[in-house]
Symmetry: C2
């Protein structure tokens, strides 16, 4: 039985996880496969770009956040998937050597009307680097099974 | 000089690119690194999940779309990056063997107030499988240099 259910995410609650180090090698590897823009692949090209130096693809940053979310609590939760993403903001570059901490705020929760055995939890994540800068924010809903589905109709 | 600038994306214009085949191996490889939920890793676990069979991580689908966008036009454009993502909807599973086509609609364009040498182009992407189902939608702004910056102040 997973540890975390819908009821475990109280609106307004804040928690954090990390840090997770980022290497130059993984930044370049992801970019080569999914986002081969020079600013994500090559230090010299990146210095000439608006990023001012090699930085991770924004999609790589999202994928890293997803892995942190998995390792932190999602793999031990009664997750029923996610319908999508409400918003991502890439605010600052993610650099080789960064140590990233993930801060999670529960924005809102509600029980599903059509499927009372589950509920929606809206999360807002802020990815923070070693200098305390918020580098990326991610707002997204998740579907989680309720711990006590027998009380669904109450 | 890149082929595509801000002026090349007319509001309302629609274009498409693909198809791009998706393999079981790449679905599992991405999931193992970034989203190791059983439904993205293991056929049997996936059949028991709400996905009804192995399906790509939603973040993998986003990364595949980004690669298609790069190969299609972004690497040959005067791109100045992107501030984030307005919305992603994961509507249907992406399966091994799927052949995915990317449809792009230009929603809106505007010249930057603070940086008249560039403009914002809001794109809406629909990723369509071989059965004609829209599996994912992605709405996101991009920043692109104008072709004729000398006329910025006109």
């Amino acid at each position: 039985m997973p540890e975390f259910h819908f009821e475990d995410f109280a609106p307004g609650s804040i928690a954090q996880y990390g840090p997770r180090m980022v290497t130059r090698e993984e930044i370049v590897e992801f970019a080569a496969e999914f986002d081969p823009q020079p600013m994500h692949l090559d230090e010299q090209a990146a210095r000439a770009s608006m990023l001012g130096g090699l930085a991770a693809s924004g999609w790589h940053t999202c994928a890293l956040m997803m892995r942190m979310i998995c390792d932190w609590f999602l793999l031990d939760s009664a997750s029923m998937g996610a319908p999508g993403v409400d918003e991502v903001k890439w605010l600052k570059p993610v650099r080789p050597g960064d140590a990233l901490t993930l801060r999670r705020t529960v924005i809102d929760t509600r029980i599903s009307n059509s499927r009372p055995e589950m509920g929606f939890v809206k999360f807002r994540y802020e990815l923070v680097n070693q200098s305390g800068e918020v580098v990326t924010t991610l707002t997204c809903p998740a579907m989680l099974r309720r711990r006590v589905p027998a009380q669904a109709a109450s």
